[in-house]
Amino acid sequence: MHTPAAALTWELWRRHRTRLLAIVGLVLGFALVYPSLCARMGFNPSSPNALDEFFRNFVARKGSGLSLLPFLQLLYAMFLAGGPALAMILTLLLMTWMFTFTEFDPKTREVMRFPARLFTLPVSTPFLFWWLWLGGMAAMAMLYGSWVYFVPQPRFFEIEAYQNWFAWMTFLALAQGLAWALAAWPNTRMVLLLALLFALLISPAWSDITRSPILLTSLFVLGSALARVGLQRMRHGQWQGWTWPRPFATLFARTELRGPKRFASPAQAQLWFEWRRSARGLCFIAAVLAAMPLVLYLVLRVVTGPRLFLRADIILSLAGYLVVIPLLLHFCFSLSPARTDVSFLMLRPLTNGQMMMAMLKTAAISAIFSWLVVWAALAALPALGDFGEVKKAAPIPPQYLTIILPGLILVSWRFIAVNLCFVWSGGRQLAGLPVLMMVALYAGAMALSVLSRNPAFWNSFWPLVPRLLVCLIAAKFLLAFLAFRLCLKCGLLAPSAVLGYLAVWTLLAAALLIPTAILLHATPRLVPGLLGIVLLIPLARIGFCPITLAWNRHK
């Protein structure tokens, strides 16, 4: 490495080599495998009506009795229809993040912080800017070109907005501008970056923007200018954030310790700690994400007039988006809860069981709150536009809501509850297991979907499902027994805590099993449904959590 540019390029490669290799792998994978998968399923991605044709065929096959597992087939269809576009968008987003050159700062917990060490290198700010800006633009162009020229992209309306190279350049310029110019306002920066992402992924306005060269060029210039000035100001410590108005500063300075406010017990203090550390933020993000479309609608209504009535497909997308929020948030959070402040926490005089219980309780609070917010937003959707399509797409009889609503809360909470034992182990490989499990689950569903096209396979597989579930449940109970016995033996959990959790488990199971039994009693789905619920409510991994935590705590 003889030049600063080579050194910086090497740093970028060294930091992101796994991601860059994954991107190359994805492009190659789709370029080589995807066309043959499409051919097998009779899906022609180059046809403008590919999706309609595919679903027409799909429905016809379903009618002829070939597809005995419509859900899995639908998953596969979704993969074929949206896989390349989704992979393209995700990789371009990843590339955008790489060229903002930001990183997570474990000390300040800032998610996208530009490393100050770059400013101590003997390179000029214009050099830094041009290197990142030009490098980013070139990388985006190359990646976009690879996706467009090597991978057959299904052509339908929703994807068109993302098939514009200049729009992606503009997105990168805006992301760099916001990330660098708002370095001193980390929270504002995150909100604006999320809003930008939201505008790109969700908002129908993005397709309008991409069709307007003037608007796109203006945004491109604005983003680039912001990035250039932001980098310069960041380097010299300008724009240091807001200072509180003097009256507030004085008020806070005079505030005394609030003596009477004391926690009643260590468990209560720990619950507060977990709430403040993560659950509160999770609830806040869920609320902001759920409110965003409504706020956007209100803004549009102010601009366009009171007769704004959203189309059915937009309302359907919004409903899908809202339902995904708590699930996605809790899954993402479950991959890295409580990684910060570990050293501090491990030295509190708390048992591992107390730490775990506090985490489980706050996860339950955030899951319930997130879903309440989402229900409220969903309830507001009929007022925004044509809700009929949602009813058609998900024709759920009202009585089924008694299972679906608590079931969704349980699933959101479950992400955190079951992954805790992996994440708290402190091991990187173990902590990565939940992602692998999710990928394996999805791959399994795909494989089943493909295999289910063969009626002989499906006829022999379906009767095995209850037996398979019974075996899994037996294994679950056995593992749970061993784990809880070990916890009690080593004093990691108090007997009262074990009994308490078992009582909660029983209550949860009863709350879901009874309505399921009533609603499905006359259908063949009853037994698999009940067994599935028993399998779903976490037990064994809850038992293993204090053990892995102890392993991390006393390495």
Partner: protein
Amino acid sequence: MNTSAAPHAVETAGLCRKFGSKLALNQVSLQVRRGRVFGLVGANGAGKTTLIKHLLGRLKAQSGSVRVFGFDPVADPVAVLSRIGYLSENRDLPGWMRVDELLRYTAAFYPKWDPAYAEELRRQFGLEPRAKIKTLSRGENAKAGLLIALAYRPELLLLDEPSSGLDPVVRRDILEAIIRTVADEGRTVLFSSHLLEEVERVADDMAMMFNGRVVLAGPVDEVKENHHRLVLRFDSPQSSAPKVPGVLSLTGGGQEWTAICNGKRDEAVAAAARAGGRVVAEGSPSLDEIFVAWAGAKSE
């Protein structure tokens, strides 16, 4: 066994720890008596922090044993941690908390938490109650850590490099805290430090570690008494340090060299005479000189 009446606050026996192929602790046996200030000194990577992590139960002994007030920190972490006030080298307090929240939160774990004392310390350290931890300077962060370590009057105060990177004012606060803790009858302080004048000033007992081993342990006065500084003059200038058996280190140049020896003063004088040198001055070395001498002896 009545563990609270254990004679030693800290007791390790044959403690070993390996990280990969590196032996971080090698047969460490130490006793820290109650009511004493114990200074742990050693070069970087000597194993001080590893030893402290064993006392806190953050690391499990691979062989040997660790007892804090008679309790095993791994088997009974709550019993041990509720007796210890700990200030970490990394000052890893949660950045999102405010100072008053930190105090309230910490108070919940310690029945003996003294709110009046906590408030007094907060004022003395000049910490704003509404200030966020992440906005505090390094020194203020150390003070906040010290505050929550002291406010419940722990039986054992454990300080890992408490003054590293801090200005003299904060260092003074920490030393005062140590002195005040010991003034409370029966309380014990164990601290690791690079600043040997601090150890010399406040510690009753000390242990010196090199490469995971305790090479020297005992009361500070005794350690100093057992070491001698001899100024040797040779008849002719010496181009390199002369070989004098029984001497830990020899520094200087030309005809005059300063030797630090451990205990065997007469033997060192005799050996110096055989090598052509005579003692022209002698005295008691500082802990700093002793440390450097041992460091040199161990690196050879």
